[in-house]
């Protein structure tokens, strides 16, 4: 095993970071968030970066989950609006064999999975199929407000199917919701006899793939947000004085910073390790993804509160940027399943009640030296 970015990956991350530093700043963010319209950013991002992390034959520009995780990390690090990108990236596996549609989707015509973002995608509640089109409501759909098409899990005659539905139909009603975190959007979506087209894929396996991707990419998002909060808190501690000294010289403040740093570097280690595991379909990839999501996003909310304490009252205001990342990290904890839900997933896979059974060798070798 080698934990190391390739030269291409390093170059990609650097170029993306450069581009983002020009495209996003606090003022722009607040403009997009106040107006509730981040389409300007979403469009220019799609124009310049669409399809990185998606193989060329599938309609992307090449690369895999490591590249997608780098994208998620760096988007979060500047708090860039990313609902459309994330929703589309997750939906892509459902469009296998349709490279033109993928290209269109990543190019600025977002596609979203019609599943509640409060749960693991593989546990999505399917709509009932029928002759009169699709009918039903799904609350809290990621990018439900901006998606032009939905990938919809449907219970068909032979079991679970995936359909694609145009969001522009009259029979599709979308009610945007108001999140504390403005960098992502959710909407409640109701279909009332919507026309749909069935996708020729193994629905169960696609939803499992989407779940693993969601786990890794939300964890990567927390990595970026946590790094940003660490940077803000450490910078602040070096310029804010109290009792005649910089607050960064107090041991309690140092230890708080160190605890965030431990979380950040553990997250960095695990996000990319897990991305590689999922991409190369390791035997334990599903557990790796679940563990990364549960651990990193839970620790991310602890880091957010620690960063807030390090800032004192100023971090608690609307006008300070800390709140942007604070809310971003908090949303990630529950987005696509709480740590508890993912841990239950792990517990199931570990077959904890399998008394007298031969132990499945679910676990890799140890690295202690």
């Amino acid at each position: 095993m080698e934990w190391k970015f390739s030269e291409e990956q390093e170059a990609y991350a650097e170029a993306l970071q450069d581009w983002l530093s020009g495209a996003v700043d606090s003022e722009k963010l607040r403009g997009w968030f106040d107006s509730g319209d981040a389409s300007a950013f979403a469009e220019s991002f799609a124009r310049d970066w669409a399809g990185v992390g998606i193989p060329e034959e599938d309609g992307g520009q090449g690369g895999g989950l490591v590249e997608l995780a780098l994208t998620a990390e760096h988007l979060a690090r500047v708090d860039a609006p990313s609902a459309a990108w994330l929703a589309t990236t997750l939906a892509v596996p459902a469009l296998a064999g349709r490279p033109a549609e993928v290209e269109e989707a990543v190019g600025g015509q977002p596609v979203a999975l019609l599943a509640s973002a409060d749960r693991i995608p593989s546990a999505a509640v399917p709509l009932q199929g029928g002759a009169n089109g699709l009918t039903g409501s799904v609350a809290r759909v990621l990018a439900g407000d901006t998606a032009v098409r939905f990938v919809v899990p449907v219970t068909g005659a032979d079991g679970l199917e995936l359909h694609v539905v145009d969001a522009g139909q009259e029979s599709v009603r979308v009610t945007p919701r108001r999140l504390l975190d403005r960098s992502r959007t959710l909407a409640d979506v109701t279909l009332d006899g919507a026309a749909s087209q069935r996708l020729d894929v193994d629905a169960v396996s696609v939803l499992e793939t989407i779940s693993r991707r969601a786990a890794v990419l939300v964890a990567a998002d927390t990595l970026g947000a946590s790094q940003a909060m660490l940077d803000l808190a450490v910078d602040y501690s070096k310029q804010r004085q109290q009792f005649g000294v910089f607050i960064g010289s107090f041991q309690a403040v140092k230890h708080a910073a160190a605890s965030i740093m431990v979380a950040v570097e553990a997250a960095r280690s695990a996000v990319y390790y897990t991305a590689a595991s999922v991409d190369s379909d390791q035997p334990e990839a599903a557990l790796h993804a679940a563990a990364a999501k549960a651990q990193i996003t839970a620790e991310g909310t602890r880091s957010a509160d620690t960063a807030l304490t390090m800032h004192g009252a100023i971090g608690y205001t609307w006008e300070h940027d800390l709140q942007l990342y604070y809310k971003r990290a908090k949303l990630n904890e529950g987005l696509f399943g709480s740590p508890g839900a993912w841990n239950d997933h792990i517990a199931d896979a570990l077959l904890l009640t399998a008394r007298d059974q031969a132990t499945p060798r679910l676990l890799g070798g140890g690295a202690s030296v």
């Binding site: 450490v234 570097e265 841990n343 904890l352 399998a354 030296v369």
Partner: protein, 410 residues
């Protein structure tokens, strides 16, 4: 990011696995639980390692080592853990003293000491810490006075593991007038020298895990000095650097421990006879620990990859211990918690000892080192000791904040 193994790695793994499965059954199992009794069990294994070319994997070949990189070394560790190989008794010799002598020592020192470490003939210990200088190593007081042809050394050392087994020690003493880091010299000390007294120091479970060592006018010749007189701090930093992979990844194989824990949970029922693994609290706890082990594994692989690539130690190296220590503590505490009050019986309680859950079966079939309750109890205790040893977590956090994050010292 690459999960695949290089061809030489895959081949090495296959060879090691075969060798272990051939060699381990020839040992005089079971492995004794008490440290003193372990030596005659361990020594033939170390000799076998040496003869098979598996001793000193990362040592330079010219000193009897194998000249391999950290990835190969970690493959060997993985396979050893998986196969249930004996505990390594001479980590100070192999990981600290040996590489230090190879790098800083004289030709005579190399000739005299290095091979005997690898063959298992000499166990080493480390005489650094003192009662009044725990976290603050540079404040050590042991004094070396120049005499004709050498030095007379007087002082007290503490927290010395394996002192009662060791043939030699690496030793720090104050030789110069310099303050703190200056004026310290690095010596090699035969433990049978006149004036050396070893007194066992029991930890809170009542076992003599470490020792106090009293040095009363102990004579060492000039040839016992490593590096420059008064230049011992530089050598010490070198010693610690050789160990940075082990320190950053931790010496406990957490993958193996979580596997023990899963086996243990599977084999147990609660007071009402229901499978323990069906208890929702147990399920969440095991899953959470499994997840933390996954993160630890990722951190370790990153450390190993960095060290293999010859990169300078970065952020991840400095956080390893902070992540690792509480994890091992929680693994062991959870292992103890599976039976009510089970954590409360001491090592000599026979009833608790046989209530091993699934653990014994999960160990190497040739003989478990340690059974369920005692295993978790020793591990829980050891984890707390590790958090304290080599600078408490308080100091480690200071270091992260000041050296990596650049926060002001004062």
């Amino acid at each position: 990011m690459d999960f695949s193994e290089r061809p030489d790695e895959a081949q090495f793994r296959t060879e090691v696995r075969a060798w272990l499965s051939e060699t381990l059954p020839t040992l005089q199992w079971p492995e004794p639980p008490e440290l003193e009794d372990k030596v005659p069990f361990w020594r033939p294994y170390q000799t076998a390692l040496f003869e098979a070319g598996y001793a000193g994997l990362t040592w330079p070949q010219e000193y009897g080592g194998q000249g391999l990189d950290e990835r190969m070394s970690s493959i060997f560790s993985e396979e050893s853990a998986h196969a249930g190989a004996p505990e390594r008794l001479n980590t100070i010799g192999e990981d600290f003293a040996g590489p230090t002598i190879a790098h800083f020592g004289t030709a005579e020192q190399k000739e005299k000491y290095l091979r005997r470490i690898l063959t298992g003939e000499d166990i080493w210990c480390q005489l650094f810490s003192e009662p009044e200088s725990g976290s603050d190593l540079a404040s050590l007081r042991t004094k070396a006075v120049k005499v004709d042809g050498g030095w007379r050394i007087t002082g007290q050392k503490i927290w010395t593991s394996r002192a009662q087994l060791a043939a030699h020690a690496i030793l720090l003493a104050r030789t110069g007038g310099g303050e703190r880091h200056r004026g310290i010299t690095y010596f090699l000390l035969p433990m049978d020298s006149e004036g050396v007294t070893v007194r066992p120091l029991e930890h809170m479970l009542g076992e003599a895990e470490f020792n106090e060592v009293f040095l009363d006018e102990v004579f060492l010749p000039d040839s016992a000095v490593v590096g420059e007189v008064d230049g011992g701090w530089k050598v010490t930093m070198g010693t610690l650097a050789f160990e940075r992979v082990a320190i950053a990844t931790g010496r406990v194989n957490t993958v193996k421990e979580i596997r023990n824990l899963v086996d243990d949970v599977r084999s147990r029922t609660d007071a009402d006879g229901n499978p323990l693994g069906a208890d929702p609290h147990v399920r969440r706890s095991v899953a959470d620990l499994w997840g933390r082990v996954h993160l630890h594994q990722a951190i370790s692989q990153r450390v190993i990859s960095g060290a293999t690539g010859g990169e300078p130690p970065g952020e991840v190296t400095s956080i390893g211990k902070l992540f690792f220590c509480p994890l091992v503590e929680d693994l062991a505490d959870f292992g103890l918690s599976l039976e009510p009050l089970n954590d409360q019986f001491d090592l000599e309680d026979e009833v608790a000892a046989v209530g091993t859950g699934g653990l014994a079966a999960a160990e190497h079939e040739a003989g478990p080192q340690d059974q369920g309750h005692r295993h978790w109890l020793r591990l829980a205790n050891q984890a707390r000791g590790t958090a304290i040893a080599g600078g408490s977590t308080y100091i480690q956090r200071n270091i992260v904040a000041e050296r990596i994050l650049g926060m002001p010292k004062k």
